[in-house]
Subunit: 343 residues, 2 copies
Amino acid sequence: MTNPSPPPAPTLRDVAEAAGVHTATASRALNPKTRQQISAETARRVMRAAQALGYHPNSVARSLKTSRSSTVGLVIPDLTNPLFPPIVRGVESVLESDGYNVWIVNTDNDEERERATIESLRSRQVEGLIIATARLDHPLLRQLHEQGVTMVLINRQVEHLPLPAVTGDDATGVAAAVRHLAGLGHTRIAHLSGPLTTSTGRVRSQSFRHAVRDLGLAGDLVVECARWNEEDGAAAMRELLARAGDVTAVVAGNDLIALGCYDVFAERGLSCPGDVSVIGFNDMPFLDKLRPPLTTVAVPHHELGAEAARMLLDCIDEPDRPARSLLLPVSLVVRGSTAPPRA
Amino acid sequence: MTNPSPPPAPTLRDVAEAAGVHTATASRALNPKTRQQISAETARRVMRAAQALGYHPNSVARSLKTSRSSTVGLVIPDLTNPLFPPIVRGVESVLESDGYNVWIVNTDNDEERERATIESLRSRQVEGLIIATARLDHPLLRQLHEQGVTMVLINRQVEHLPLPAVTGDDATGVAAAVRHLAGLGHTRIAHLSGPLTTSTGRVRSQSFRHAVRDLGLAGDLVVECARWNEEDGAAAMRELLARAGDVTAVVAGNDLIALGCYDVFAERGLSCPGDVSVIGFNDMPFLDKLRPPLTTVAVPHHELGAEAARMLLDCIDEPDRPARSLLLPVSLVVRGSTAPPRA
DNA sequence: GCGTCCCCCGCAAACGATTGCACTGCCCTG
DNA sequence: CAGGGCAGTGCAATCGTTTGCGGGGGACGC
């Protein structure tokens, strides 16, 4: 049908020829920044020719020459975690209006994939990276930083590395969660923490200990989950029940871990919030429709993404800018998974 | 600190000089495909030099020369719809093992953004496109097809355009849903369809009409939602209740529309499945934890992604391959949102 | 009428890799 | 011992743009 292989895409050269000018002139005429170097009449002719031929500049050639790309990379650990899509949207919303393209990669929490994908982003000349996969000890990021790669962290931090970062105020969020439970009368409050290799895991866990201690409660009811998902949340909950059957409330490291608790409740015939209250973290979508609706700490993910993007733009424009960190406020959303303990 | 701007990344030329050979030789030595043209000893020397310098090939330069990029674009309408992340993973799982990178873009259901992002993908020489944004009438895709762009559709089709596609067997799924409801004793069964501008919307809607008619039931209880989300699902449900207050069961165009129904039930004090049964479509994550757990039609999204990716690879390897379409089987997952109608 | 300035535009060199072609030796065969 | 073949390497063009530099020519001042 349309098989007789379509004509190759027109190049700047074709446009220049059609307009009867040199490629340099055509290039300048097409670029708004340099257009005033060209007479209005010529510029018009070139633009018309470009239009007529359906010319689209080849970004690859442009990148090669300018070593810029109008592209930034966004490195996500697990796109299926509902917390990330809003971040993506936030990032896109500010970068695209600024003429940048966003290249999203998904590492699946695999260090090798992370290395490979970042490598591939760099080899394509991305101008900066927004990293959501940070671990506290992260040699790869350290190395990138030493190589002068422009990047900002989102949601998580790296230890001993002065990188710009945008995160939620986890400490305050966890404290609010604990206070809420204590206010309901709970005294045996546990925490199912996320991996302590991540700053979110560690900060939330530490804040939990501080918060319970400040209230004069036991601070040792903490179980760590190996990953931020339901399965590991469920495993941790089982371990918790085995270790301390008298807990009446749980602060989960995130919403997925809380959902893991729901699974265990179903499995053991426990009622929530009747037997055990649970609080999640993040306020991912649809929590209000769960059974019971999950009380959680809402983190403004879209804003996190937008702010990280803005920060990255600043870093690109002004490379020697000192790294600053932005902490966005979070808020407790009380729903149906928390109630006073049984008398 | 590390400010004294880091040394520029080493190029092939640097490697060649370090190894005492010409860049052509270095290039061949580093490429497994051409390495046998080079003596083992020289190859080793080059590879060692590359290693020592920390050389990484510049993909931009490579793409410019070869007009290939080892990259494919994945065009998603809305990443926050939980149906898409598994598709992304499926696509990545096969493409990355084949040495390709996946560039995910999110159009937000906006035609202008779609055009812009696809344009930007093309200008970066992507070798193929996987499109999840197809509408039945889609001039842009028609144009791309005429220009010989390699692409495969996923989840949705385009009318009158011979494009390879991988979709779920929507017709069978809807029929199973209707039969399930009829089997429970429902006779007033409605359908809240997705936008009829999409193949999924239309196919599901048509299958619904066929299925109810085959059972001798009314086939006119159909309301169209403008978009595939909760809000529009809720609006459609309200309209349905206004038009036909006696419906006892609803087949929703997808899970989000079904969740919109849940919102209306809450608003009106209706019980599900007591007053109204609901069936969704897709089996997105966490439906089992809803109140009530949503009966739905499970679509193998990960597989859809993987098959689409395989198909795209085939199309890249063999451009003149006739377009084939793959229909993956779906299955009804019965949960708690469906029950016999009140007597 | 001549010198100067400036406006437009063209020339050509990049950017970093790939690859067809040509060249050098060497080995092998007849 | 001559000639063919082949393995290993270098040469140089090329992909499509951008951009510093320089030149031609018109306008203008003196």
